[in-house]
Each structure stands twice: as C-alpha cells, then as structure tokens.
Amino acid sequence: MTHATGTKYLKNGMLPHMWCSGCGIGILMGAMVRAFEELEYTNHETVVVTGIGCTGKLDDYLTTNALHVTHGRALPHATGVKAFNPRLKVVVIMGDGDSVTIGGNHLIHAARRNIDVTAIILNNFNYGMTGGQASGTTPEECITSTTSFGNPEREIDICALAEVAGANYVARQTPYHGWELKENIKEALNKKGFSLVEVVSPCPTHFGKNNEMLEAREMLLWLQEKSLPVEKYRKLGVGEKKDYFAVGTLVDRNAPDFNTRYEEIRKRALEL
C-alpha cells in the first residue's frame, strides 16, 4: 500500500511555506492533508476556515475551499457555513490565541451547539505571529515577551474546556506523533458533531527561545517525554499527573449534532 502524501491538497507554487524551521504547524498541515486523502475528501466539498496567526496562515497552501477570517472568529464563520449546507466538510484551523483566548467564547458555544465541524487547534503556548506574547494557554511562570518575569496567570486546558462544553470528540497529539495525529484527525473528521484535536506544538522562535527550548529537537523530545498515552496517563496518581499530559482520544460520544436537532425542531414547527 502506498502511503497518502496529501500533496493533491497543496497549491502549486506556494511552497516553501512561511513557518520557521522546527515549527509544528507544517507537521499539522501534513497530517491534515494526509487525513483528507485517506478519507477521499474532495476540494469542492471541503471548506477550511482559518483564524489569524501563524497557524491561521495555513489556508494559503491549500487547494480546497477556504475562508480566512478575523482573529478568534473562525468558529462562528464555520458555524454559518455548516448550518446552511450540512453536506460540506468544515475544518477549522486555529492557534491557541485564536481558539481559547480571544475566541474562547465561540469555542464554548460551538461545542455546546454541537455543530458538526472539526476544530484543529495548534497550541504553542504563545502568540507566535505577533512576537511571542502570553496567551490563555501559557503555563504559569513561563516567560514570554509580555511575561518577562514569569506568567502570573494560570493556563487553560483546551481539551478539558471542550469536554465540559459538550464536544462529541476530543483528542490531543503533538508533532512528535505525526502518525497518531493523522489518525486522530481522521477520527475527528469522521465524527458527527463538534470534534476537536489539540496539537501541542513547538514554537522555537518565541516560546522555545524564552523557555530554554531554543532547539526544535529539544522541544520535540520534551513533547515526547511529557506526553503519555491517555490510558497510561489516567492510571497516574494526582501528584504525578501534573508532570505529564495525555495524548490520544480523550472524549468520544455521540450526542446529536446541531443540524440533526434543527431538523427535528423543523418537523415540529411544520406539524403545528
């Protein structure tokens, strides 16, 4: 069997991409287009919606339909696309700033509404595009260009947030886990209802530089070391858990998605 390359979803003449060497976004893009290929997605049925940031630039390289919007607002745009045409495959690509900082409210409500889109969130713990400022996922004490003496605030757990808000599917991976990432993206794409894949990723240029992970290799190894398959992670004691994060499928359930529920309500309205 030949492995999927996903190159048919990449626009001719656009490469090399803009991302720094060692950045995780390229690996995320590779995993995503391979997933598209294995699931036989076509360009015309696929809409990729992106926000603003290094991660949000991803649509520049794609041949699918795309909608590149404002910072933090990719999910409500995607909601409009999907709600009006449920036959479309809608994939939303965001950074951690986009998705859970400026756009956090939309994430909560997209999950609660259970709109059938797949959110892929690259979490590099900071705002890459604007020069490495702190975001809602910057861990406490970490150094960024706006927390020079250490971050006084606590970070948010993207996956936990999506779970309590009602997402049908939640997974976490890292660029160290390219294959698993592609597999989780496929599961997310196949899931009806709101699905989310968090990709914990290096930003050697900003976050890495400020937090003694200047080399992309060091940061990838750190990701390998700190990530535990979810089954193993769940067996850890409370005290041990804080040193690791779980990767793999964290939530998998089948509540009816928005469009299904809307059609049920429509039937009721028509019967009156």
């Binding site: 409009g80 709600a83 939309h106 809307y262």
Partner: protein, 387 residues
Amino acid sequence: MGREIKLMQGNQAISEAAIYAGARFYAGYPITPSSEIAEICSRVLPTIGGIFLQMEDEIASIAAVVGASLAGAKAFTATSGPGFSLMQENLGLAVMGEVPCVIVNVQRAGPSTGLATKPSQSDIMQLRWGRHGDQTVIALCPASVRECFELTVKAFNFAEKFRVPVILAPDEIVGHMRESFEVPRAGELEIIDRKKPSCPPDQYLPFEAEVDGIAPLAAYGGDHVFHITSSMHGPNGYANNNPQNASWRVEQLHRKIDLHRDEICLTKTFDTEDMDVLMVTIGATTRSGRAAALEARKRGVKVGVLQLLTLWPFPEKEVAALARDVDTVVVPEMNYSGQIAGEVQRVVGTEKEILRVNRYNGTIITPRDILESILESRSGQSVRAGG
C-alpha cells in the same frame, strides 16, 4: 389580484420583506429595539426551509451570516447600538471578502448603553466609518413601515448585485411604529440574485471584476472551488501584499459602488418645485419635517423636503441640485453632532447657512420644534407655532 392591506410593525415588515427577498438564514443576538426581527425569523425560517441561529454574541452573529452567505444563502442579522459596534470588525471582512449580506441596525440612543431602547439617529457616521481601513458601504434608512418593507428588499438586491454588506438603519421610532400598508404581492417587486460564475471551474477567479465592476460569486459546495480572505488578496482570492495589487483592490472596492451610485442613491422630494427653504430629512424625522413644512407654507414660508432613503453613499448630487437656489437649508436630526447636517454643509459649501435642529434626549423631534426654528430664522424673532 389586489394587494393585501396589513397592519404591521416596522420590524415585522423588515422580517417579512427579508423573506420576500429570499433570505433563508438569520443569525443574531437579542437586543431591543431589534429583537422582534429575530423572534419572527425564529418562527418563520424553519417552516420555509431556512435556518435561524441565536448566536453567543453579535460578533458571532455576523460571522455566521458571512459563512452562510458563502455557502449560498441570502443571509442577514439585526441588532442595535452596542451590538452594531461589536459587528464592525466582521463587517469589514464582508467588505474585503465582497460577501453579500444585510445588517439591520435599529438605531437607539447612546453613547454606550445610553438611553437603552430609546430612538436616535446618531449612528450615521458609524454606519459609514465604523470599521478600520479604507472601505465604503451602502446604508439605507426608512421613514415608514412601507419603506421598511421596500428598503429591505432593496438592501438584499444591492447586497446581491454589488457583492457588498448593506446596512438598513431605521431609527427605533420606525422600527417599532405600527402602520397599515399594501403589502407587495409575490413577484411584484424585483428580486435580484448574485451573479454566479459561468466559466469552467479551473478558470474561476473569485475577485476578477467584470465590466460592471462586480465579480461573480460561487457557493461553497459547488463545482467552483474558491478562497475568501480578510487579508489583502489577488484576483484568485489568495493572500497578496504586492503594492500594485493592494491599490487595485482598494480602488475596486470603491469603484463598484461609485459606478452604480445613481442606482443606489434613493431619495424622495416633497414640494420642492417652488421653495425658499430646503429641508433635508432621514427616518422618522421625515414625518415631523413634512408636517412642519406644510404648516410653514400656511404661514407663507415655502419649504420643500428632500428625504434621504440612502444615507451612504451620501446623495451629494441630489442635495446639491436642490440646495442651489434656496437661501436656507434646514436639517432636523436626532443627534447632537449634526451628522447629516455636516454632510449637507460639505456639499453646499460654507457660504450657505444650515439651520440645524437637533434632539438627543431619546424623544422625537416634533413638527413644532422644526417649525419654530424655521420661523425664527426667517423673522429673526421667536414665533409661537400654532396648535
């Protein structure tokens, strides 16, 4: 078959006209004095194959409208004051991405929460300049329930034809007013749908304007695959920061409106054939203004009224033509800053006197307010209005 006469609220007429124009998607967040539009859409849209979404805020509402429009819907939202402020960033996106959609802003008094729910005409400049960056929009303002209906249909037609967001901005008085009117029959008013690409899919350029200044727009899910972006982009919809391309884009966004300004600038005139005083009015103030003009004529002052149904692009030609031979121009409006008066002054020049009649306390300008101002300015002394 005759037209049906119905008693309707302005906001209801807007909702019914939107559906008449083909709207099948509404996303919004409740705010007085616009909420009736959401409520009506929530009841009607599911029964006609449409989608109603109550979003988490106004930012999300207009975002969903943009998304649905690109998926092929005639889509709209309605809000007021604070909600309209929140929509501005994504309204800019609709301008930049050339996304047809309609935004209803039922004007209420600010600043901020201000006189929540009370009428005002103080968003005139926000309609035009509320977003950052170089851009232009179309904004319409009705003065009656009938005009709510007609201008809503126009708003959708302009949005579809010119690939732009169109703002309909009734003041609260008109949005909440009830009047009976002859509802246009199905098929009676012209309905325009956006131009679709006719080229082979691999040749489609979503931002390549045709001779009329407008590029055809496909819908996601069809054969024509396309990119829409809030960033500066070339004809193919991919990001492009080249200076030459950037100038072309900004010019193009303006050109398509400028080319069609005569079709877009809608006005009505009343008794302007023989006048010494020209009154320029918008929205509910038109009603007080017309009453004042009739009363003034009884007292020997010949007043004519020019009602601006289109606020933006500003009907400069129409104002200039009528203002040329009068000695005084009166502009009553429900704001402190004279947002319409300032535009009129810009058009007629600083030599001509503009008589400004302003109210900004959440109550309507009465015919008497306007009449007194006119008579006072003509006689140099205070005259009590009759009645």
